[in-house]
């Protein structure tokens, strides 16, 4: 059942690097991460790779396999032919640290910029009551394992370093949607999504949804509903009037 596969793995650091060729054994049922581990144990002990659970639950082993953003632990070798050369490269949107490991700190910065859950002030411990159907919308987004594949693939920042400052990326816009749909969250989220986290940059190409290993419908269920609400607000005459009055009041003080 075993065979020898041809691998090209990107080796290098933030300054320079290139694809290196390896011929490595593959056994039945294995995934790309198994092969990377075999390389470490037999041919390249210092090959840097990030991984934890090897079960698709932690979202650590993100990489690009033949150009597709994927989790290495969930990419089975049986999806390739035995003669195919498999190319493994680090995520392109983030700076390389070494080999397949990238600096994903951008994502942690963006996480901090999203205001946190605002709990209801009048409810004590054990007093929260929510319907299952109401929590399910946010629960879908909370399946996110923070593999950052959606961030990596999003064309707003993939080749546009300059957009990173003003764009939270699909993962964190989805976080805003999650809080917005939380039945007991007390904050107003929609305006900030548009104005502070760059929702307007998204032109719903659905690339994020396509690469999500958790199959979360990021675009359809999180981003589009928020965009619709932004538009509702902008063109709602009552909201417009309220905003105008509020602004006038504010300038008076």
């Amino acid at each position: 059942m075993s065979y020898k596969a041809n691998f090209k793995v990107w080796r290098g650091d933030g300054e320079a690097g290139d694809l290196q060729d390896y011929i490595v054994e593959v056994n039945e049922g294995e995934v790309v991460l198994d092969i990377i581990h075999r390389l470490q144990a037999t041919q390249a002990p210092d090959l840097a790779v990030r991984w934890n659970c090897k079960a698709g639950k932690c979202g650590s082993c993100s990489a690009e396999i033949n150009g597709m953003p994927r989790l290495m632990c969930m990419t089975r070798m049986s999806t390739f032919t035995e003669t195919e050369t498999i190319t493994v490269t680090p995520l392109r949107t983030f700076p390389v640290i070494r080999d397949l490991v990238t600096d994903v700190s951008y994502n942690y910065q963006k996480a901090r910029e999203i205001p946190s859950f605002a709990p209801p002030a009048n409810l004590g411990l054990g007093e929260y009551r929510m319907k299952q159907q109401d929590v399910e919308r946010s629960q879908e987004f909370r399946k996110c394992i923070e593999c950052f594949l959606c961030q990596n693939t999003c064309h707003v920042i993939r080749d546009h370093e300059e957009n990173k400052e003003n764009f939270a990326g699909p993962r964190f816009l989805m976080r805003v949607a999650e809080l917005d749909m939380h039945p007991l969250d007390e904050a107003d989220r929609v305006r900030e999504a548009q104005e502070e986290h760059g929702l307007g940059f998204c032109n719903i190409t659905k690339c994020c949804t396509e690469v999500c290993p958790e199959h979360i419908k990021i675009t359809d269920n999180a981003l589009i509903p928020m965009k619709e609400r932004v538009i509702d607000r902008k063109y709602d005459p009552v909201v417009w009037l309220g905003n105008a009055l509020f602004r006038r009041n504010k300038s008076r003080h």
Partner: protein, 637 residues
């Protein structure tokens, strides 16, 4: 000698580990006003806790209102075969509901009951539906919730001080190699950044170990690479003691095929939600494996077992939900006796028990995991499962109320702490353990810091020595004949798996100990290639020291305990021995961590009001006659 470059930080409390216990400890320490650091080997939010699937046990009584802390306490003690630290089991049962509700205030979204409360699920060994859950990804929800709570505390600090990290900072991808003391007290920790390989020194009077378990010393395991027993080994080398190290939990249901995923967990929630175990003949074999101590508590016919899911007042629970040690041994026996599945496990069938849509709704990650990794559709076919090393009951001996070890300033919570689960942990009691004792450790550490009149000092020679030990694997032996850390690790895993695994006997444990002597010797000449930047070979070489020391504790304690109890099964001593019930095996080591010693010690007798929660007839199954002489029901006779 060239002065080594060491980055220095100063904190009140340093938490090592960013899983459930570590994050909860850090939240508490920060809320107590302490400047707190969290050190994590992985990225923030990737901790092993994310792999916990089934749920978090807390007797909220949302699904069955008969549930309360006393029932939970009793279940926990039974699960651990009465070897548990009863005070920990008491605190845990009493405080778990509040800790779960607290997570809701941080933003957690658990599955709901019809009346909008937190839903609770059945699980092995729990009398009533007790596990708060989110489908089968409860651990992920808990980690994300506490990660986001930490971000929210950082946002508060940003608003107040203009710096997110003014009071609470996460040091991600940073590994601690040594604890440093001033006399007998903790003074700090020495670490390296995984990405740059550069050294970091944390000066801190209080350290909370929350490093999880030791499963990476076994070949077939549900544990990730992080589980190398770091906290256990750091504690030993700092002079703290470990207890219950002979008790290792083999989860009954890990994947068995394909080989590369062997050991990956299949949640107990599958059985909690109606899934049943079957052998190759199609028999539900668990009915034949109800041990004497649990006779009368479990259903004896399939009809009664199936009736229990909907009517718990008139039916007893299915033996598919016996505690994990019992189920794991039963599967082991079925396979040994030739009634296993094609790939050496047994069948776990949910497909014939629930409609496909319901399975996908309740067990989405299991559906996903089998579909993508094994080409099995669990809504149509049975899964193949077998035991996998999952959890270590043993850990740092701590004071139940403060989580303090015997070393002043050193605290431990979660899997790295020992005592709470006795000889076997019930499913669902781990996530609750993390938040109950994580909080207590954060509180204990904060109070300890307040009690100090003078901050302990770190001596420069200790720092230099720690740096030298950390870079040691880069020095190639003069002979040029170096050992490969991956090879030693693989041999250790094979040996522990085969010789100190689910079923043990004297000669095999002795063989494992001999192998450990050899591996320790060879580990001295481990050398690695490359540079210090993100070098996994080097990282493994350092982790290997911890695994070897901790494995020695497991093997030595396993050799000494001549009975079978919970996660320790001796083929040559197959029964429970009441004389062993009260015995703790205490492990300690020399400062260099070169050798472990094990000494027996008696546990403190259970407080009377807690003892009275049990029927005398049940206690008689576990206790010696002498111990029960003073029991009111006996002395009154």
């Amino acid at each position: 000698m060239v002065q080594v470059q060491v980055e220095r930080f100063d904190y009140d409390v340093v938490v090592i580990g960013a899983g459930g216990a570590g994050l909860r400890a850090a939240i508490e320490a920060r809320q107590q006003g302490k400047r707190t650091a969290i050190i994590s080997k992985s990225l923030f939010g990737k901790a092993h806790t994310v792999m916990a699937e089934g749920g978090c046990a807390a007797s909220m009584g949302n699904v069955n209102e008969k549930d309360n802390w006393q029932v939970h306490f009793r279940d926990t003690m039974r699960g651990g075969k009465f070897l548990n630290n009863w005070r920990m089991a008491e605190l845990h049962a009493k405080e778990a509901p509040e800790r779960v509700w607290e997570l809701e205030t941080y933003g957690a979204l658990f599955d709901r009951t019809k009346d909008g409360k937190i839903s609770q699920r059945n699980f092995g060994g729990h009398t009533y539906p007790r596990l708060a859950h989110v489908g089968d990804r409860t651990g992920l929800e808990m980690i994300r919730t506490m990660q986001q709570k930490i971000v929210s505390l950082q946002q508060e600090d940003y608003a107040e001080y203009g710096d997110y990290e003014a009071k609470l900072k996460v040091f991600a991808e940073c590994t601690v190699t040594e604890l440093i003391k001033d006399g007998d007290r903790i003074a700090g920790a020495f670490a390296y950044w995984r990405d740059s390989g550069k050294f970091v020194l944390f000066e801190a009077p209080a350290i909370v170990l929350a490093t999880g378990g030791i499963g990476k010393s076994f070949k077939v395991t549900s544990n990730s690479w992080e589980y190398t027993g770091d906290g256990h080994a750091l504690a030993l080398r700092a002079g703290a003691t470990l207890i219950n190290m002979e008790f290792v939990q083999f989860h009954p249901t890990g994947m068995v095929w394909p080989p590369s995923v062997k050991g990956i967990l299949v949640t107990e929630g599958v059985r909690g939600d109606g899934g049943v175990l079957k052998n190759s003949k199609g028999d539900r074999f668990m009915f034949g494996y109800i041990p004497d101590v649990f006779k009368g508590q479990y259903a004896e016919t399939e009809q009664e077992a199936d009736g229990w899911y909907n009517d718990q007042d008139n039916n007893r629970r299915t033996p598919d939900l016996l505690p994990r040690d019992e189920v794991a041994r039963a599967i082991n026996s079925e396979v040994k006796e030739g009634r296993g599945s094609p790939h050496g496990g047994v069948f776990l069938d949910i497909a014939s028990r629930l409609p496909a849509e319901e399975i996908k709704r309740r067990l989405p990650s299991m559906y996903h995991q089998f579909k993508e990794l094994a080409d099995v559709d669990i809504t149509a076919q049975p899964m193949e499962v077998g035991p996998t090393c999952h959890y270590v009951m043993g850990g740092v001996e701590v004071d139940p109320d403060t989580a303090s070890s015997v070393v002043p300033g050193l605290f431990a919570a979660g899997e790295v702490a020992g005592g709470m689960h006795g000889s076997n942990r019930l499913g669902g009691n781990s996530l609750s353990d993390l938040i109950v004792f994580g909080r207590r450790a954060g509180l204990g550490a904060s109070e300890y810091v307040d009690s100090l009149s003078q901050k302990p000092k770190i001596s420069e020679s200790d720092v230099d020595a720690a740096a030298a030990r950390a870079t040691n694997p880069f020095d190639w032996p003069d002979s040029g004949q170096a050992e490969n850390p991956y090879t030693i690790h693989a041999e250790l895993q094979q040996s522990m798996n085969d010789l100190v695994g689910i079923i043990r006997k004297e000669a095999e444990i002795q063989q494992a100990l001999d192998k450990l002597v050899e591996l320790k010797q060879r580990a001295r000449s481990v050398a690695v290639e490359g540079r210090r930047e993100f070098n996994p070979g080097w990282h493994l070489a350092l982790d290997l020291r911890n695994m070897l020391l901790v494995s020695e504790c497991v093997a030595k304690a396993a050799l000494m305990r001549t009975e079978s109890r919970g996660g320790h099964t001796r083929d040559d001593f197959p029964g429970l021995d009441a004389n062993w019930r009260n015995k703790l095996l205490v492990c300690s080591s020399d400062e260099a961590g070169t050798a472990a010693t094990v000494t027996p010690k008696d546990q403190e007798p259970m407080r009377e009001d807690l003892l009275e929660l049990f029927e005398l007839t049940e206690l008689e199954k576990y206790y010696t006659d002498d111990e029960l002489a003073a029991h009111p029901q006996r002395s009154g006779k």
